[in-house]
């Protein structure tokens, strides 16, 4: 009889997700899907992602014509979207308990508890986004997020998001 060795299914921390895999998990789409790639992922717990800033980004054309700068609120949005991917990845592993008509639950921003913007972001930068899922109560989740370019901390903050449908 083969020995029943327990198969260690470790949580894949270095899991990466391509843009297509991200799009499948999320209700967002271009031009408002602000996470290009996920480079580290612990479903439901934390994740790291990338957003490339390019000179032809339609969201930067008017901000500002002479000097394109990524708006702070879009940095918040990109961080929030990464958090949403982290949560969605956990749900993707869970058995579907009931049919919700094929509709994905929406993670909606409920509160920007605090956010600091330390440096501007310009075309050519690659934003490394990080999200750590914290305390949860009922439908509300608290997330610590940050964005870096290289070694420089660009922004960091704390968001509350609620799960609706």
């Amino acid at each position: 009889m083969p020995s029943a060795a327990p198969s260690a299914r470790a949580v894949p921390a270095k899991q990466t997700l391509s843009h297509r895999e991200i799009a499948e998990l999320m209700p967002h789409s271009v031009p408002f899907l602000l996470v290009d790639r996920v480079i580290e992922l612990e479903p439901g717990r934390r994740g790291k992602g990338i957003k490339n800033i390019t000179v032809d980004d339609p969201l930067l054309l008017g901000h500002f014509p002479e000097q394109p700068v990524m708006p702070g609120v879009l940095i918040v949005e990109a961080c929030g979207q990464l958090a949403a991917v982290v949560c969605a990845a956990e749900r993707a592993h869970q058995p579907k308990l009931e049919s919700s008509g094929g509709r994905r639950p929406l993670e909606i921003l409920a509160m920007i508890e605090r956010f600091k913007f330390l440096r501007i972001v310009t075309p050519g930068d690659q934003l490394i986004l990080e999200a750590v899922i914290g305390k949860q109560f009922q439908n509300m989740t608290r997330i610590e997020v940050s964005a870096r370019v290289g070694r420089n901390l660009i922004a960091e903050g704390t968001l509350l998001a609620t799960r609706g449908s």
Partner: protein, 98 residues
């Protein structure tokens, strides 16, 4: 009044003041502690907190008391008084593990 009762009242009073201050501070309430009802329901007809307020309050209490709060037992979150009950309970539990 027995000295035991006196101690219990002091402890209760202290913890309640602390929780009220956390509530006022973290939720940026324009209220003083003596303007807040301890027995009023936290949600609904009473203090009317929403779930954002609740989570911010929970994090505030965790930070100030250096503990982790159970967020699935809703009985804890009926009122400020029941929150304090829980804090006293976890304190007592800690004490017996000395």
């Amino acid at each position: 009044m027995t000295s035991q009762m006196k101690l219990a009242i002091e402890r209760r009073s202290e913890l309640t003041a602390k929780v009220k201050n956390i509530l006022i501070d973290r939720l940026s309430l324009k209220a003083e502690p003596n303007e807040i009802t301890e027995d009023a329901p936290l949600f609904g007809m009473g203090l009317a907190l929403d779930s954002i307020d609740a989570l911010v309050l929970i994090v505030g209490i965790e930070d100030e008391f250096d503990i982790s709060l159970n967020t699935t037992d809703h009985q804890i979150y009926r009122s400020i008084n029941t929150l304090v009950d829980h804090l006293i309970g976890t304190e007592a539990a800690k004490a017996t593990h000395v």
